[in-house]
Amino acid sequence: MIRARILLVVLALGCLRASAAEDDFGALMQLLATRTHARSSFIEQQFLKLLKRPLESRGELTYEAPNRLEKKTIEPRTETLLVDGDVLTIERGHRRQVLSLRDYPALAPFIEGVRATLAGDRAALERLFDVSFTGSLSRWTLMLVPLNADVAKSVARIQIDGTQDDLLRIEILQPDGDRSLMTMRRAAAP
C-alpha cells in the first residue's frame, strides 16, 4: 500500500518534472523567438581522426531574424559563411561561392539546427530532428538527433547548451566519431 503510494508520488513527480521540462522548452523557444538579433564571439575546435591535433578557429556568429545566419571566422584566416534563406554564400579571400543549401544535404542539417534554435522555431526543429530538452530555462541542453537517415550519415547528433536566450556551446558529433565544439560568448550590444 505504502509502496504503491510512493510509486504514485514518484510517478506524479516524474510527470511533473516532464511537464516542467516541456514548459521550459516552450518558454525557451518563445524567449528565443522574441529576439531579432544575436551576436556572439566563438572559438571552434575540430577533432578529426584524420589529423594529429585539433584545428582551432575564432570568430563571430551573428543572427538576424528570421533566417539570416552569418559565421565570420577571423583566425587563422578570414572567411565568411552566410546563410540567408536557402542561399549559402562562402567567401574566402577573393573567392566567393554562392550555393543553394538544398544542394548540400550534408551541410544543411547543421545550419538548419542552429538557425532554427536561434529563431525559436520549434516546428522547424521537430521536423528535422528528434528533439530532447533537459535542464531549465537558466541552464538548458537541447539534443538534436536527425530524423532523416541520409542526414544521419553526416551528423550523428547536435548538442546545444545555453542559459536563457544565450547559446553557450554547440557540439556536433559525426557518425565516424569526429566532432566539432564551438564555445560562444555573447558580444556586447553593438
Partner: protein
C-alpha cells in the same frame, strides 16, 4: 474546239501533270535558314551552323505550371525519368540528384587528368606540403565537412580545383528536388534532342514524346496533378510551331480567301462555270510556282508556300480582266478575239512589269527572297499564259455572265465627282513623305529576329525560361578552328591561358572551354607523366607531412589512386557518356568534314554574366599571344549585321527592280510622260502605305519591302489600264479593275490575320497598297475638271 485549241489544252494538262508530280515529290523545309545567306562568310557560317544544327538548336526548354510546388517537382522528376529512357534525347536535366551524382564520380575518378594544377612541381615535397596545408585550411572552413571524406584519397584538393572551374553561379533554384523558376511558379526541365534543331520532323516527334512523358507522369501523380500544364520552348519547338502556323496559314487562309473570291466572282459573274474557269489560272500559277522553286532550289521553304496565297490575289485578276472585259468571252468568238487584241497587250505589259519587279529578288543571296522571286515569276507567267491561251479554248459558247458595265459607269461617275483629283493626290503624297521624313530614323527594324516566324509572346516566354535556367543566350564567344579534335583542344588550352589572365584583369568574369571537360591528349599525357611512382610518392609524403597536422599513414588510398592514374587510359569523348558533361562538351565542339571548331563562351564582367565585354581588347590579347586559329565572335552583332546586309541588299534589289520597271515602261509605251503617268500612282501608293505603317508604330522589315514590290507589281495593271482607258471599254475596264482590286484586297487582307509575323507584314502592306494604287491610278488619270 479547234485542233490547235485541243493541242493547247493537252499541252497545258501535260504541264499541270508534270508540275503536280514535282510538287508532290519536292522537299519542304521550314526553319529560319530561308533568311540566312546562301554563301556566308566563315563567321556567318558559324552562326548559321549554330542556328541550324548547333547544340543550342537542340535544346527544348520546359516549364511545368499550375498545382503546387511539390507536385510540380514530383511530376518534373517523373517526366525526366521517362525521357531518359528515350533514345530521342541526349540529355535531360531538371536538377534532380541522379546526374549530379554521376558528374561528381566522373570528376573524382579523372581528377589527375582534369586538374589544371597537375605538373611535376605539384607532387614534389614542397608542392605536396603547400597543397596539404591548403587542404587542412579548407577542412577548418565551413565547407570542410564536405571535404573530409575526400582527404584520404585527394589530400591535395584536386577535385576542388576542377569544380571551381565549372561553377559560375548558383544555377537554377532547387525546390523539392527539382529546378524551379525564381518566382517559384513553375518547375523547369531541359532536354537536348539527338536530332538537329533543323530536323523539324524529329523535333516534332521529340515534342510528342515529351508531351506523352509529361501526361503519363501527371496522370500517375493523382487527381490533384490534373491542374498541371507543360509549356515547351526552344529553337526546335519554334521551328515545329512555325511550320504548323505556316501550314495552317497556307491551308486555312488560302481556303478562306479562295471561298471569298469564289463568292465575289459568283456575285459578279452569276455563272458557276465562269467562276470555275476563272480559278484555273490561279491554280495553274500556284502549282507552277512551287514546281519552279522545287526545280531551281532543290528544297522549298515552307514560307514560300505561305506566299502562295499572295499569288491568288494577283493571278485571279487576269481571269477577271478576261471575263469582264470580253463579256464572258461569250456569244461570239470575236469578243474574245477583241479582248486578245485590245486588252491582252496591256495585261501582258502588266505581267512583264511584275516580272521585272520580282526578277530583282532572284539575285538575292538569301534563299527565302530568291525563292519568292522564282515562285512569283513562274506563277504569274503560268497564270497569264493560261488566261491568254487556255481559257478562250475552254469557255463554252453558251457562257453568259452578268453585264457589269453599269457598275463601271457608276464607279466612273463617282470618280469624276471627286474635285481636284491630281492636287488631292499631290497633297497626300506630300503629307506621306513628311511622315516618312519624321520617322526616318525608326523606319527600319534592323534585327534578325524581326524575320523570326515566332511570335513576340513566344519569344518572351522563351527568354523567361532561359533567364530562370541560367542558359541566357551567349553573346560573345571565341572560336578555335583546326583540322582535328586534338588540334582544337590544344589551341583551346592555349586560349584558356590568355583568358585566365583576362579574368584576373576583370575584363571577363569567366569562360567555358571544352578542354576543361576533355583536356587534349597532349595535356593529359603531360599530367600523367608528372605523377611520381608509388614508392617515390610515399617518401615525399612522409617528408611533406612531417610537420603537418595530417597523418601520412591515412593517405594510403591517395598513393593507390595516383598509381592507378599513372596507368589509366586517357579520357575520351566516349568517357563522358551518362554525365551531364557529354551534352556540355557536344555543345562546345562543332565538327563538319575535316573542320573542327571549339567554342569558348565568355561570361560578361557584370552580375550573372551580363555586362558588355570589350571584344577588341580580348582580340588584341589573343593576337599578342600569337593564337592565330582563334577568332572572337559577337553573335548578336553578327546576326544583326547579317540582317542589315540583307536589308541593304533587299533595298538595292528592289530599287533595281523599280529601275527595270521604269525602263520596260519607257520602251513599251515609247513615251516618258506615259511611263510617268503609270508610275506616279504606284509611287504615291507605296509611300502612303509606308507612312501609314510608320504612323501605326510598325518598324518596316524586309517583308514590308517585298510587299511594296508586290504593290507595284499588282498596281501596275491598274495604272496601265487607266492610262489606256480613253481607248474605249471604259465602263467595263473600270468594273474589271474594281472587281480585281476587291479580290486582291480580300486575299492580302486575310493574310494580315496570319499568326506568322512575316506573312502578316506582307498582308498589311499589300492590301491597303493595292487599294491605294487603284484609287491613285484613277485620280491621276482623271482630267483636272474642276480646276
Amino acid at each position: 474546239m479547234t485542233q490547235r485549241g485541243a493541242a493547247v489544252v493537252a499541252c497545258w494538262l501535260l504541264c499541270i501533270g508534270t508540275a503536280s508530280w514535282i510538287v508532290a515529290r519536292a522537299n519542304y523545309v521550314s526553319d529560319l535558314s530561308a533568311f540566312l545567306p546562301a554563301h556566308p562568310t566563315p563567321a556567318q557560317q558559324l552562326l548559321v551552323d549554330q542556328l541550324r544544327d548547333g547544340p543550342a538548336s537542340r535544346l527544348i526548354l520546359c516549364g511545368i505550371e499550375g498545382g503546387d510546388a511539390a507536385l510540380r517537382a514530383k511530376v518534373s522528376i517523373a517526366t525526366a525519368n521517362r525521357l531518359r529512357a528515350s533514345p530521342q534525347f541526349l540529355a535531360v536535366d531538371n536538377g534532380a540528384a541522379t546526374t549530379t551524382e554521376r558528374d561528381r564520380e566522373f570528376l573524382f575518378e579523372h581528377r589527375y587528368a582534369l586538374s589544371p594544377r597537375i605538373d611535376a612541381e605539384r607532387f614534389s615535397v614542397n608542392g605536396l606540403q603547400q597543397a596539404i596545408a591548403q587542404t587542412i585550411d579548407d577542412l577548418a572552413s565551413p565547407a570542410g565537412l564536405l571535404l573530409k571524406s575526400l582527404v584520404p584519397r585527394d589530400p591535395t584538393g584536386e577535385t576542388l580545383q576542377i569544380i571551381a572551374r565549372f561553377q559560375h553561379g548558383p544555377g537554377p533554384q532547387n525546390t523539392d528536388g527539382a529546378w524551379s523558376s525564381r518566382d517559384g511558379r513553375r518547375a523547369l526541365l531541359f532536354a537536348e534532342t539527338r536530332a538537329a534543331g533543323s530536323d523539324t520532323d524529329a523535333q516534332q516527334q521529340a515534342m510528342a514524346t515529351l508531351s506523352k512523358a509529361f501526361t503519363a507522369a501527371r496522370d500517375a501523380a493523382g487527381p490533384a496533378a490534373a491542374a498541371l500544364s507543360l509549356n515547351m520552348s526552344g529553337p526546335g519547338v519554334f521551328a515545329v510551331r512555325a511550320r504548323s502556323h505556316i501550314q495552317e496559314a497556307a491551308v486555312r487562309l488560302s481556303l478562306a480567301s479562295s471561298i471569298l473570291i469564289v463568292l465575289l466572282l459568283l456575285v459578279v459573274y452569276r455563272s458557276l462555270p465562269a467562276v470555275a474557269l476563272g480559278l484555273l489560272p490561279v491554280a495553274s500559277g500556284a502549282l507552277a510556282g512551287v514546281a519552279a522553286v522545287a526545280l531551281g532550289f532543290g528544297t522549298v521553304h515552307g514560307i514560300t508556300l505561305g506566299f502562295g496565297i499572295t499569288l491568288i490575289g494577283e493571278s485571279v485578276d487576269y481571269s477577271i480582266y478576261f471575263f469582264v472585259q470580253s463579256q464572258g468571252g461569250n456569244a461570239a468568238r470575236n469578243s474574245a478575239g477583241a479582248w486578245r487584241r485590245d486588252v491582252w497587250p496591256t495585261v501582258r505589259l502588266g505581267v512583264l512589269t511584275s516580272i521585272c519587279g520580282f526578277a530583282s529578288l532572284l539575285a538575292s543571296g538569301f534563299p527565302g527572297l530568291a525563292q519568292l522571286g522564282a515562285y512569283s515569276i513562274s506563277g504569274l507567267i503560268a497564270a497569264a499564259l493560261v488566261t491568254r491561251f487556255v481559257l478562250p479554248e475552254l469557255v463554252p459558247a453558251t457562257l453568259a455572265i452578268r453585264d457589269v458595265a453599269p457598275w463601271g459607269r457608276r464607279a466612273g461617275r463617282a470618280l469624276a465627282a471627286i474635285p481636284y483629283p491630281r492636287s488631292l493626290a499631290g497633297v497626300v503624297l506630300v503629307a506621306a513623305v513628311s511622315i516618312l521624313a519624321v520617322h526616318r530614323t525608326t523606319l527600319w527594324n534592323r534585327e534578325l529576329s524581326a524575320l523570326s516566324p515566332v511570335s513576340l509572346a513566344e519569344q518572351r516566354y522563351d527568354a523567361g525560361l532561359r533567364a530562370d535556367l541560367g542558359t541566357a543566350d551567349v553573346r560573345d564567344l571565341i572560336v578555335v578552328t583546326g583540322p582535328s579534335l586534338e588540334a582544337v583542344l590544344q589551341d583551346a588550352e592555349r586560349v584558356a591561358m590568355t583568358l585566365d589572365r583576362l579574368v584576373d584583369d576583370g575584363l571577363i568574369a569567366g569562360f567555358d572551354s571544352p578542354a576543361n571537360i576533355l583536356p587534349s591528349l597532349a595535356t593529359q599525357t603531360r599530367r600523367r607523366e608528372s605523377l611520381p611512382v608509388a614508392a617515390e610518392l610515399r617518401t615525399r609524403l612522409s617528408l611533406a607531412t612531417a610537420e603537418s597536422a595530417l597523418d601520412a599513414a591515412s593517405l594510403t588510398p591517395f598513393v593507390a589512386d595516383v598509381e592507378a592514374a599513372r596507368h589509366a587510359a586517357p579520357i575520351a569523348a566516349t568517357s563522358l557518356r551518362g554525365t551531364s558533361f557529354a551534352a556540355a562538351f557536344d555543345a562546345l565542339i562543332l565538327h563538319e568534314g575535316t573542320r573542327w571548331s571549339a567554342l569558348l563562351p565568355l561570361h560578361g564582367p557584370g552580375a550573372g554574366g551580363a555586362g558588355d565585354i570589350d571584344t577588341a581588347r580580348v582580340a588584341a590579347a589573343l593576337h599578342s599571344d600569337g593564337i592565330a586559329s582563334a577568332t572572337i565572335l559577337d553573335l548578336k552583332q553578327e546576326s544583326d549585321s547579317l540582317y542589315s546586309a540583307y536589308l541593304r541588299e533587299a533595298i538595292q534589289l528592289s530599287l533595281a527592280g523599280v529601275a527595270a520597271i521604269v525602263l520596260l515602261l519607257c520602251v513599251a509605251l515609247r513615251s516618258i510622260t506615259q511611263s510617268l503617268r503609270v508610275l506616279a500612282p504606284l509611287v504615291i501608293a507605296v509611300v502612303c502605305v509606308a507612312a501609314a505603317l510608320s504612323l501605326a508604330g510598325q518598324e518596316l522589315t524586309i517583308l514590308h519591302l517585298v510587299g511594296m514590290l508586290l504593290v507595284v507589281a499588282v498596281g501596275s495593271n491598274y495604272a496601265l489600264f487607266f492610262a489606256h482607258v480613253e481607248r474605249g471599254h471604259a465602263p467595263l475596264t473600270i468594273a474589271a479593275l474594281v472587281i480585281a482590286n476587291v479580290a486582291t484586297v480580300i486575299g492580302f487582307g486575310l493574310l494580315s490575320f496570319s499568326r506568322v509575323p512575316v506573312l502578316e507584314a506582307l498582308g498589311m502592306t499589300v492590301a491597303p497598297g493595292a487599294f491605294l494604287a487603284l484609287v491613285f491610278s484613277a485620280l491621276l488619270s482623271a482630267p483636272e475638271r474642276h480646276a
